[in-house]
Symmetry: C2
Subunit: 211 residues, 2 copies
Amino acid sequence: MKTKDRIVHVALELFNEFGERKITTNHIAAHLKISPGNLYYHYRNKSDIIARIFDQYETTVAGLFDLPQGRHITLEDRAVLTEKLLDLLWNYRFMHRDLVGMLENDEALHQRYQAFANHATDQIAMVYQRMCDSGFMQMTPEQIKPLALNVWLLCTGWANYLRTARGISEEEITPAHLNQVIYQLTYLEMPYLTEVTKEETEQLLEQFKPF
Amino acid sequence: MKTKDRIVHVALELFNEFGERKITTNHIAAHLKISPGNLYYHYRNKSDIIARIFDQYETTVAGLFDLPQGRHITLEDRAVLTEKLLDLLWNYRFMHRDLVGMLENDEALHQRYQAFANHATDQIAMVYQRMCDSGFMQMTPEQIKPLALNVWLLCTGWANYLRTARGISEEEITPAHLNQVIYQLTYLEMPYLTEVTKEETEQLLEQFKPF
């Protein structure tokens, strides 16, 4: 891996492990055993590194919504989406734990984040539309939009909730803590599921039951 | 109003208008036209003032859940609860806009907040249990808990969402922005409502439709 990419890779790891606010470019350089000067040769500052992580994040989120075209989606497509979502929540768990702090002094990132959030909520609505088209869900257009927004709030608010309301620190967090999102998500979707999806959904609930 | 109470009153106002992180004890003293020394006579530091605001906040939240005992709740009780919730969201809107920042350096408050969050989610579940007892909702015990948690995430995540995803600053925020919570909340509850609550709920949706 090139130094430029290794910097982003290690920064993401450290942000996830210790929180973005606690990590400086010096920490990142020290962890990579390179000089701060070498780091600054590749990135102007921490914001610049975060912007590259956000590029990756956006691409990963886009991949989440990259459903097969030209045919109905299947329950397997939906299972794949769930797996991808779990990976995303874990691999970028720092992102929504203190988003306010991260956007506070980075107006460019804040602008980008708003466009991203808007687009992502539309994409969630699109997934539900396709679930309806495939006969897995039954919803009116009026119901899809608020459901999509509630799902967005759940998925992006969960890391913050773990931190503030449950007092789970960066060091303590496990994938199981994030998996509970699937449990909560399933209860959001449940009332709109058709008979054909019920069995898989019951299995999901068992699998992601909070401990 | 005594100086001790005026300090808390003005601090809450300034936190709501400009965000807690931007306001110092000096700002509060200046706004009250008292000396910093006079302020420190009443409160040791900003944390001490925030602790008093949190006392008020807890009392107000408790008031939200203070439903009539010894009889079934009515749709009027539910309407009153909605009104109280709207007031709460507006009057303490600073609270959940940057909670991470506020709890970051205040371990005592963080401990308190966790106990509060836990208790509040139980109280939400209790309200739904009573809605079921009154015949306004139909839910199994397994459904009540995740719904209560999703409602908690919605109500406490909304101010943060407005700030980060919608880019609405403290100065720009209006009650209408917060009222959309009721719209989203209604969609969470809708699938579990019985026939008798449907009409009132349609009216709520019209009233709180996002602009």
